[in-house]
């Protein structure tokens, strides 16, 4: 397995030793590694001179942070109100069934990870689905397959 340690150090080096930098650091680490690894938490604790407990406490509070690796592509299903009234939960359920994972997990072949998101702010286009940086509007369970086929 690739040694991620130098990449973590690179990220930390960009920040001054201030507690208010904790969340931006976690965001940066996740941007780099795709998730918050135990090694990263250890290193941040050292760097900011705070306990690992405190870091887990903050990181687990916010829905953005994940503690498992990402797949090659990230699917986010919008479960905002406009999407809900148009059947967003059924869309998520279909994905769970097809991919055999639940939100927060990643498929065995590492192709997709699945996430739920409170609202992507494209409510006029409900149902909305995001794969990586691509946002799809007016999705339904039938169009789903077509969309996923685009990603290897």
């Amino acid at each position: 397995m690739e040694n991620l340690s130098p990449r973590i150090d690179d990220v930390l080096g960009k920040y001054s030793v201030e507690a208010s930098n904790l969340i931006p650091m976690l965001q940066d680490i996740q941007g780099e590694l795709g998730y918050i690894s135990p090694a990263a938490v250890e290193k941040i604790a050292d760097y900011l001179k705070i306990t690992e407990n405190k870091i887990y406490g903050v990181a687990s509070f916010y829905s953005q942070f994940r503690f498992t690796p990402r797949g090659r592509h990230s699917i986010s299903v919008c479960l905002g109100t406009a999407c809900h009234v148009r059947g967003g939960a059924i869309l998520l359920e279909t994905l769970e069934r097809e991919l055999e994972i639940i939100p927060g997990e990643c498929t065995e072949d590492m192709r997709f990870d699945l996430n739920r998101v409170a609202c992507l702010g494209c409510c006029a286009m409900a149902l909305v689905l995001k794969v990586d940086e691509d946002v799809y509007g007016n999705v339904n369970v039938i169009k789903l397959k077509e969309i996923l086929d685009k990603y290897e």
Partner: protein, 625 residues
Amino acid sequence: MSNFKEIVTKSKKDWDGLFNSEVPLIFLGTASCGIASGAKDVKETILNTIEKNKIEARLVEVGCIGTCYLEPLMDISAFGNPRISYGNVNPKMAEKIIKKYLLDKDTFSQAALGHFGEESFDGIPSFFDHPMLKHQVRIVLNNCGFVDPNNINHYIARDGYRGLEKALQLSPDEVLEEVADSGLRGRGGAGFPAAKKWRICREAPGDAKYLICNADEGDPGAYMNRLLIESDPHAVLEGMLIAAYAIGASNGFIYIRAEYPLAIKRLKNAIDQMEEKGLIGDNILNSDFSFNIKIKEGAGAFVCGEETALIHSIEGERGMPRTRPPFPAVSGLYGKPTVINNVETLGTVAQIIRNGSEWYRQYGVEGNYGTKTFSLVGKIRRAGLIEVPLGTPLRKIIYDIGGGTQKDFKAVQTGGPSGGCVPEELLDTPVTYEDLAAVGSIMGSGGLIVMDADTCVVDVARYFLDFIQKESCGKCTPCRVGTRHMVEVLEKICNGKVDAKGLDELESLAQMVKSTSLCGLGQRAPNPVLTTLRYFRPEYVQHVVDKYCPALVCRELIEYSVVPEKCTGCQRCVSVCPTGAITGPRSEPHNLDVSKCIKCRACYEICRFDAIAGNAIVIGSREEA
């Protein structure tokens, strides 16, 4: 001496050069909603078409005008004609329009939505006469869809930063006075007078003061802030400068959701361009006023929209609220006096200073002056983002602007998870902070989610409570445990697993959570339940007594079936059914085994759109089937 005149001259040159040149302009809306509807593919086609056909034209990417249901939106300005707008443009259409118009000089008027000229043109109506736009008053959204959000010159050429220039010539007290006179109230939802908050902060002891722009737009179903930042970031930034000057802050933050990557990108770019022009940093416009802005990305916690929670989050802590007082305006970020304003509040400030409080007060009604933006979504014909004077009746918004619903109107949910459902009989309620509160709802940040006969209000109440329960920070027990308990009861109601006593239990829980929670999140969480119980009690009763969901949404109470007379046996549904519940030979009516059906909706969708007969699969009540 201020160098503002020089900046304006340069910007105007850039802007006028764009429109006075012989080169046709193609505008494309590339805010997130445009992109979600396929604007990226359209952009590629536009560039390919002009290159392949050697058409001399320039593509300008703009934000969103708010008619989101018409996205992607493409405008063309050419041959001295008014700018013409085309809606729901796909790549094929884009190519056709460009070729017809720019090669054959045929405006292709049958595909046009409207133009932006003064008089009628080529049989095309004015876009501002479009029913969705006609009833709006666009102050905050003034530039959205018209300027390139990545080009500060466009903003400046359209009177941008003139409010800042004017403010810097006034004393901070005079600026405060002007905003106070305008009657502007916080657009984040609570409606606290903006100038009052500023004054408390200004008068609080201490030199270091902070200004925070709250762009943590957490309400699901609301995207006013995203659209404004993506389409016109400088409107918010100019407002921040003026607010900072008035309260005496030299450092500011924009706390914005990480779920809005495009808005963050455009803000960063906007701040870079401000730096180049000396509109941010030390001695802005050669004055004594200095101000810096840092962007803080929220990490996904609804409660961080609450002021004290937001402050904790910026400080690097868990975003948990604390009791107030002291209010942040006295003791906020790092214990210093801090003003937290919503994006829209700040987006309005520059216009008030530019045009004066008198001008602003001509809109709206007494005590509720000015305009408010709303995201009009859900089961509505013309979904999108709108801006209307406060005091406009809900009915006008839903029917005149939104075009009403496809099926019978049921309710409109205002104010997100903290708001309530307003029924048909109260649609003449004017949208003001007080009138909405009187019917049990709130103004909130501006989400209007329209529901029709196909929406189950019990399911919606469950949805909001489930949302709040997941987002509860856990600090106080009524919210942490109470909302969880409420979700459990609501789930039982949706599943028909409880009798009428469940409704009383739900109501008393709701009252308890409302009166004992620590912050606004918990105190308002019961609103969706209390308003639906108040206005739609019969629908609850149908669930618990008759075990019947009239909207055919609650899955334990419904069943899918095939109408044999309609089914042609095309087997499309058989191919998509994940559990093999549908069987039958080709060309003969299929059979649906309810014991295997998981109600995934796949057959229903494919029958509606792809099947030969169409609509042969129906969803009915469990008793009926």
